[in-house]
């Protein structure tokens, strides 16, 4: 914002986009990914991803045929992989919204190279996440009963239930994310329409670009809508995961009933989201030779966000431990003891390793600027964040208040099938996206090229 703009070193930073680029080269480079020949690696990866997607389809079919009993859930552990994965995917989605909306409002220009990609990731992650709450119910075909639709039964949903808040939060989030992503795509879709070499592509991109002609009026409307949507999305970044955390925090289950959950969930979500963006972007840079569009500075900035949010998450863990002890409540104290030394102790300790210990490597600039190291660390965080949800969901439930009802939760092959299947689903969508849509916002990148800065006296002078 103002302060940032006023920051003197703003132009001393490494450029967001490499200097050889101008508007034309940026356009070409991004659109060539779409118009060029399908790379072999893409075909191979797509085949693998699509096969895993098939596993998801089979898992869903079997689930609908037999019931949730094919999973490892039971009483006491009524929620298992489905909710773990739901929270994990929703969390991953957060990076996209944060990058698109908050960083836009904060005028962080570096976001431009990665925002489209991150938004797509958000959308697909939310699609994966959205599957779970529906499928995990005993009777998914009645899932619409959770929506406040006027009906002949004269029944409203129970507005006291955090699950209902969740329905609102997630559906709103999915809608706004989709709109935001699509709105941002329109000018680039028009570019693709204009560059299209065959009629089919021209027609499809033409319909999708909604008659964009790039007139000043169009640009004016576009900017207003985009800004509005960014404004709408901003609170969502905070609200969605806050509401998701209410599913747990509003209950009385020891290990769930915790006031720190909302901020710690939001931080965790951003943490997980940036890790996933890095996980996807790092291999794509060399593959599409876009290192000069998504530069080391992007990587480093994302690493810094991860470091900060990671520390917030670590603080959350520490507070959970402290408050559990400080509360003096028998069930809370036992819950902590059980997490750390109970039958699921390897999960908790792995969580600490992956989510707290390993990310400390980001303090070193050497690691922040090394794609290999960053990739490894972001993978560690992906795993760690999943483990965190496992710890919260399964280890809290499996030994709660009544000792007689303690039991173990062991996921079945169908739990794994659906989980890995959604990763296949996600990758399939990502691969289709990078192949057929501009994964980098072309028109915004044009504004970042050195040539676009002509109006600025200093830059102007340097250019001469």
């Amino acid at each position: 914002m103002a302060m940032l703009e006023a920051s003197a070193d703003r132009y001393d930073r490494p450029p967001v986009v490499g200097s050889p680029h101008d508007a034309a080269t940026v356009t070409d480079q991004v659109s060539n990914i779409v118009y060029g020949r399908t790379p072999l690696w893409w075909l191979g990866t797509f085949a693998v991803a699509f096969s895993i997607f098939g596993v998801m389809t089979i898992s869903i079919f079997w689930l609908l045929i037999k019931g949730t009993g094919i999973w490892g859930i039971n009483v006491p552990v009524g929620w298992g992989f489905a909710i773990i994965n739901f929270v994990w995917w929703i969390g991953i989605g957060h990076a996209g919204t944060l990058i698109s909306a908050i960083l836009l409002l904060l005028r962080q220009e570096w976001r431009t190279s990665i925002n489209r990609f991150a938004e797509a990731m958000t959308l697909f992650a939310v699609a994966c996440a959205g599957l779970f709450p529906l499928l995990h119910t005993g009777r998914p075909w009645l899932g619409y009963w959770l929506l406040p639709i006027p009906n002949t039964m004269g029944m409203w949903p129970n507005f006291r239930s955090p699950l209902i808040w969740d329905v609102f939060a997630v559906t709103t989030y999915a809608t706004v994310s989709a709109l935001f992503w699509f709105t941002g795509l329109i000018p680039d879709l028009a570019t693709f329409r204009d560059h299209a070499k065959n009629k089919l592509a021209r027609t499809i991109y033409g319909i999708a670009s909604m008659g964009w002609r790039g007139s000043a009026r169009h640009w004016h409307n576009y900017e207003s809508v985009y800004l509005l949507l960014a404004g709408l999305s901003t609170p969502l970044v905070l609200s969605v995961h806050t509401v998701v955390s209410f599913d747990f925090a509003m209950s009385i289950v020891p290990g769930w009933h915790t006031t720190i959950f909302p901020p710690y969930f939001v931080a965790g979500a951003v943490y997980a989201g940036f890790a996933m963006v890095l996980t996807l972007v790092i291999p794509l840079r060399p593959l599409f030779k876009i290192q000069d569009l998504i530069t080391e500075r992007h990587l480093q900035n994302m690493a810094k966000v991860m470091l900060v949010t990671g520390l917030i998450v670590a603080y959350g863990y520490a507070m959970e431990l402290f408050v559990g002890w400080y509360s003096g409540h028998h069930a809370e104290k036992f819950m902590l003891e059980n997490r750390i030394t109970g039958p699921y102790w390897p999960i908790w300790w792995s969580l600490i390793l992956f989510n707290v210990a390993i990310p400390q490597l980001l303090w070193a600039k050497r690691n922040r600027t090394s794609p290999m190291a960053l990739f490894a660390i972001s993978m560690s965080i992906n795993v760690g964040m999943w483990l965190e949800r496992f710890v919260i969901v399964a280890t809290s439930l499996h030994r709660d208040y009544l000792v007689s009802s303690w039991d173990m939760y062991t996921p079945t092959k169908w739990d794994w099938g659906l989980y890995l299947g959604t990763i296949g689903f996600f990758l399939t969508l990502m691969l289709l996206f990078i192949r057929y849509l501009p994964m980098i916002a072309i028109f915004e990148m044009r504004t970042l090229t050195p040539g676009a800065k002509v109006k600025h006296p200093e830059t102007h002078a340097k250019a001469h």
């Binding site: 039971n74 005993g138 009777r139 208040y401």
Partner: protein, 1041 residues
């Protein structure tokens, strides 16, 4: 035993047969089997012919973790598949559902108008027999279809309560695997065929005065059946009648003869007993009249808090294998069998029984101090104490108990002796041995086996099945085509007790009519009376005529011209109305005590293997009953399996752990069994339960568990000495309803959380508020965000007295029957998905070697501030206007959030399609007043809302309020110990309010501010100060407050 040892090459049906057939195992190469046997060195035990042949099918079965029928879901050929097939076959058999009223007049119980009102159940009184004991019941009938068994309040053995077996008998009636026709050589035949064949035989035997005719029954209580058999024996004097009851009162009979020189039935009056000493006795869940005993005993446990009644009693339990009874004991001493015997002898000596010589208690340090203290306590309560030996205890313990009761003046006061209740008391071991020897010697020409399953459960050393093959004509009457059927050319389908007329006597000698509620589901089923009638003078007599005729001649002979009214009343009431048998004085023979003490001294050391009837399957007869397979065994919480029970120390010594495989060798035979480590089990012995490993039980019970009968010999029916237990290879998953993981941690946490609150009478008298002080902080009434609910009408609540509950499981099965709760199978139980709405939580407390055990029935608490209600997104679980936490199945989408948020974990989810919607015959067992839940829906205890509504309709019609005690929940009704009370909390005078007013009343986890409507009365014990105040029961109140 699964199959006998077949040495004989004449392994066929009999000489009359056209084609010799292999018994029970089509597709086996018997030549190959014989070859293997010949090649084997030394005595080798094998479980079945299949095993011997080592067929791929058998190997497949062994390799399968779960027996085929137990592994129901979700993959492969499911039980559902089987059931579909059987449903189809039923349809083909022409069975259309419902209402087959008996042709004779049966008399409804007067709780309703004479005529049948659609939607209103009728109740009929009848009696259920089980192994030499009978229980009077009222059976609920919906439009001619029996659906639920309740106790008969007018029957002395029941007083309105029931047990698990009676509750589960409904499912037995509708068992789809029941035999449906007479078969001869596995081909369908008719009763006419059988009758012709039998009478031809009898005709020939008449010339020989019946020489060669044998009848084998279980223990016969029916006066009519006994008279029928005696009649045949009178006409064919050389014919003989044998009895065999695998889990019968063999020791008690032997002891009565040894002590009194005569047979006698024993009747205890626990209501009058201040001090009870149980010697290996599980009198609170087994033995003749146990339901009544449990009630009387519990009455004296309640005395501590129900003011104005007698004082609380005191129970000492000395035993080897932990019993449910010992969970109620104020002092419990675990000793190996020889230790229990020595203790009994020493106690007799200490009390001053003439001829008693103290046993050797040198090895049992604790026992010596016990003898003195218990003897003092008994002597202080002369005439008001009971020493009782269990059915599974050796005869010498019974003799010593008789002598002790006599010396203490209990005989004639708290312990009464009467003439035997069974029709013919005899040494059944000798009886079955005699029969087997005669069969082997070729002296038996015609054998009628009326009920029972001797091929499976006869003592292993007799070689019953092998001898059976030498009998030319053998017929077996049974409800299932079981192991014995496989060895008999003639199979006769038996009727269920709810389908046929009969009569019986209960523990105190009271006679009762067994009236049918329904025509036999399969028209060819007949009762033993009808089979015996084939041999009688008039072959066309029906069961009704036979029983009625007999009663006219004997039981109700005194009624004279008023017989018709007296009969009608007897059928209506379910009891004869002629009272219990008169007691008689039976002095204990002087030398009997000395002999018993000598026997006690001689009882060997070494590892002993104890055989006990299974708490669910009994002797194996209930193996095909899913409810009983799945009811968690009271102490182990095991379902769908039996195991070798070992004490923690013994298991450690042997290098065994729960679920590892142990090899048990006794008498040259060897069995592999999974181990279950049971805290509180005595060292130096191990326990196995009978009734498992049936090879031909049916789709539910075949191949479940391990058959231990092969180790059980006629000389050692209840305990075998000199057993070796070694570590076997592999593991076997056991499905326990309560996790066995980290038992010590569980014990610690349960204590900290004050789940089961307990204390001593002394503590209670000193500080009546001790229970309330025990818990964590209970929030005040205004500590809630939500406005309080207003209850202008009724406000239902329930209380459970933990001092009374023995954990017998009657409530669990009663609830299952009342509320159409499905059976889920072993795999699902192992995955923590059992569906019981009420469960009995078992907690150990104290030292694992000698823990106190607490039973706590837990069902929905119907919380005033229910955590489940808030979180349900679709309002499928809501607070009702009368305080019930109501579950709306149709609205439930199955998020399971309610279950997660339920601190009591009483909610049950239909993870798969558990309810059986297809099997036609099982539909008839369902309660029409309760919805059958489908897949994906949450369910839980409703406080039997259907019963509340029924009472409400009655009350409204009569323009009054529902009276206290008018609504009785299924669990409450079944409970022998009267541990549960239900009623209106808005009614100041209600029983439930008087219970809740007790200082002992507490809410489970009440610090969570859920405000449960189900509350508990803390468990009180009455330890003897001389024994250190009952170490196990009084400790454990530490923990944070």
């Amino acid at each position: 035993m699964g199959s006998p040892h077949m040495g004989s090459p004449e392994m066929g049906w009999n000489e009359q047969q056209e084609s010799p057939r292999e018994a029970g195992a089509p597709g086996l190469d018997l030549a190959q089997v014989r070859e293997k046997l010949a090649a084997a060195e030394g005595p080798e035990y094998w479980r079945s012919i299949e095993e011997l042949a080592d067929t791929p099918e058998f190997r497949d079965m062994v390799h399968r973790e779960f027996p085929r029928q137990a592994s129901e879901w979700p993959e492969g050929v499911s039980r559902r598949g089987f059931l579909e097939l059987s449903a189809a076959s039923l349809a083909l058999a022409g069975l259309t559902a419902c209402t087959r009223q008996p042709e004779e007049k049966i008399v409804p119980y007067v709780r309703q108008p004479e005529e049948l009102v659609p939607g209103r159940p009728l109740f009929y009184a009848t009696s259920m027999e089980l192994a030499g004991d009978s229980l009077g019941v009222l059976v609920e009938s919906h439009m001619g279809r029996p659906t639920k068994v309740e106790g008969n309040p007018e029957h002395p053995a029941s007083l309105g309560a029931t047990d698990v077996f009676a509750q589960a008998s409904i499912l037995g009636l509708y068992d789809p695997d029941r035999s449906q026709s007479v078969t001869h050589l596995e081909r369908i035949a008719t009763w006419g065929d059988f009758s012709t064949a039998l009478l031809g035989r009898i005709q020939a035997l008449k010339a020989l005065q019946g020489e060669g005719l044998r009848i084998l029954t279980q223990t016969v209580l029916s006066p009519t059946l006994a008279a029928q058999i005696e009649d045949v024996l009178a006409r064919l004097p050389k014919a003989r009648w044998h009895q065999w009851e695998a889990a019968g009162a063999h020791s008690a009979r032997a002891a009565a003869r040894a002590a009194f020189g005569a047979d006698a039935a024993i009747r205890y009056d626990f209501a009058k007993a201040d001090v009870v000493v149980a010697l290996d006795a599980d009198f609170l869940t087994s033995g003749p009249g146990w339901v009544r005993h449990a009630r009387a005993f519990a009455g004296r446990r309640k005395a501590a808090w129900k003011k104005g009644e007698a004082k609380m009693n005191r129970l000492y339990a000395v035993e080897s294998s932990p019993t449910v009874t010992s969970t109620q004991a104020d002092h419990r001493l675990a000793l190996p069998p020889q230790g229990v015997a020595a203790f009994a002898a020493s106690l007799a000596a200490a009390v001053g029984v003439p001829g008693a010589a103290a046993g050797d208690l040198g090895a049992f340090a604790q026992a010596a101090s016990w003898v003195a203290a218990v003897a003092e306590d008994l002597k202080a309560h002369r005439g008001a104490s009971i020493v009782i030996a269990g059915d599974c205890a050796p005869p010498e313990l019974h003799v010593l108990a008789h002598a002790l009761n006599e010396a203490l003046g209990n005989a004639g006061a708290t312990v009464l002796y009467t003439e035997p209740v069974e029709a013919r008391a005899e040494d059944q071991i000798a009886s079955i041995r005699g029969l087997t020897e005669d069969m082997r010697a070729g002296k038996v020409d015609t054998l009628l086996i009326l009920g029972g399953n001797p091929v499976y459960d006869a003592p292993a050393d007799l070689g019953f099945a092998e001898a059976l093959l030498k009998v030319p004509f053998r017929a077996h009457l049974s409800m299932h085509r079981d192991e014995t059927t496989a060895w008999c050319p003639w199979h006769l389908p038996a009727s269920h007790f709810l389908e046929a007329w009969s009569d019986t006597r209960c523990f105190d000698g009271t006679a009762a009519v067994v009236q049918p509620l329904i025509e036999p589901l399969y028209p060819s089923a007949k009762s033993a009376h009808e089979v015996m009638a084939l041999l009688g003078a008039t072959t066309d007599a029906t069961g009704y005529e036979l029983v009625r005729g007999h009663w006219q001649r004997t039981v109700l002979a005194g009624a004279g011209a008023g017989f018709e009214a007296a009969w009608r009343k007897a059928v209506h009431d379910g009891v004869a109305g002629v009272g219990a048998a008169a007691s008689k004085a039976v002095p204990v023979a002087a030398d009997a005590v000395a002999r018993a003490c000598a026997a006690a001294r001689e009882s060997g050391g070494g590892m002993a293997l104890l055989f006990r009837p299974d708490p669910g399957l009994y002797d194996g007869r209930f193996a095909n009953n899913g409810w009983l397979q799945e009811v968690p065994r009271p102490l182990t919480k095991l379902t769908w399996d039996n195991a070798l029970l070992l004490s923690p120390r013994e298991a450690e010594k042997l290098g065994l752990a729960t679920e590892s495989i142990a090899e048990v060798a006794a008498g040259g035979k060897k069995l592999a069994l999974p181990v279950w480590v049971l805290p509180g089990h005595a060292e130096g012995c191990a326990t196995v339960h009978l009734g498992w490993g049936r090879s031909r039980a049916g789709k539910v019970g075949s191949g479940v568990g391990v058959d231990v009968y092969p180790l059980r010999t006629s000389a050692a029916l209840w305990q075998a000495g000199g057993v070796t237990i070694t570590k076997g290879s592999g593991e076997h998953t056991l499905a326990s309803a309560q996790t066995h993981q980290d038992i010590e941690l569980q014990t610690r946490e349960a204590t900290k959380r004050h789940l089961v609150r307990h204390g001593t009478v002394e503590q209670f008298e000193k500080n009546p508020h001790f229970v309330g002080e025990m818990g964590h902080h209970t929030p005040a009434a205004d500590e809630t965000m939500y406005p309080p609910h207003a209850y202008n009408g009724y406000s239902w609540g329930l209380a459970i007295d933990l001092s009374s509950c023995v954990g017998c499981n009657a409530c669990v099965v009663a609830c299952q029957s009342e509320n159409n709760i499905p059976v889920v199978g072993k795999e699902q139980v192992a995955g923590a998905r059992e569906m019981h709405w009420i469960r009995i939580d078992r907690y150990f407390q104290g030292d694992l070697d000698d823990p106190a055990v607490h039973m706590q029935p837990v069902m929905c608490m119907h919380c005033e501030l229910a955590p489940c209600e808030v979180v349900c997104p679709v309002a499928a679980t809501v607070h009702g206007p009368e305080g019930l936490n109501e579950m709306v199945y149709n609205r439930c989408v199955g998020t399971r959030y309610c279950s997660n948020n339920c601190p009591y974990k009483v909610r049950r989810f239909n993870f798969l399609l558990y309810s059986d919607f297809e099997t036609e015959v099982l539909r008839m067992a369902k309660n029409p007043d309760v919805t059958i839940r489908s897949r994906g829906v949450m369910e839980k205890c409703t406080y039997c809302v259907q019963r509340i509504n029924l009472a409400r309709i009655d009350a409204k019609r009569e323009g009054r309020k529902i009276k206290d005690g008018e609504v009785v929940t299924a669990c409450q009704q079944a409970c022998p110990a009267e541990a549960i009370v239900f009623g209106d909390l808005n009614d100041a005078g209600s029983e439930v309010n008087s219970w809740k007013a007790s200082e002992l009343n507490y809410g489970l986890l009440d610090d969570l501010n859920t405000r449960p409507r189900t509350t508990y009365l803390a468990k009180l014990s009455n330890p003897n100060p001389a024994l250190g105040g009952g170490a196990a029961h009084s400790s454990g109140h530490e923990g944070d407050h």
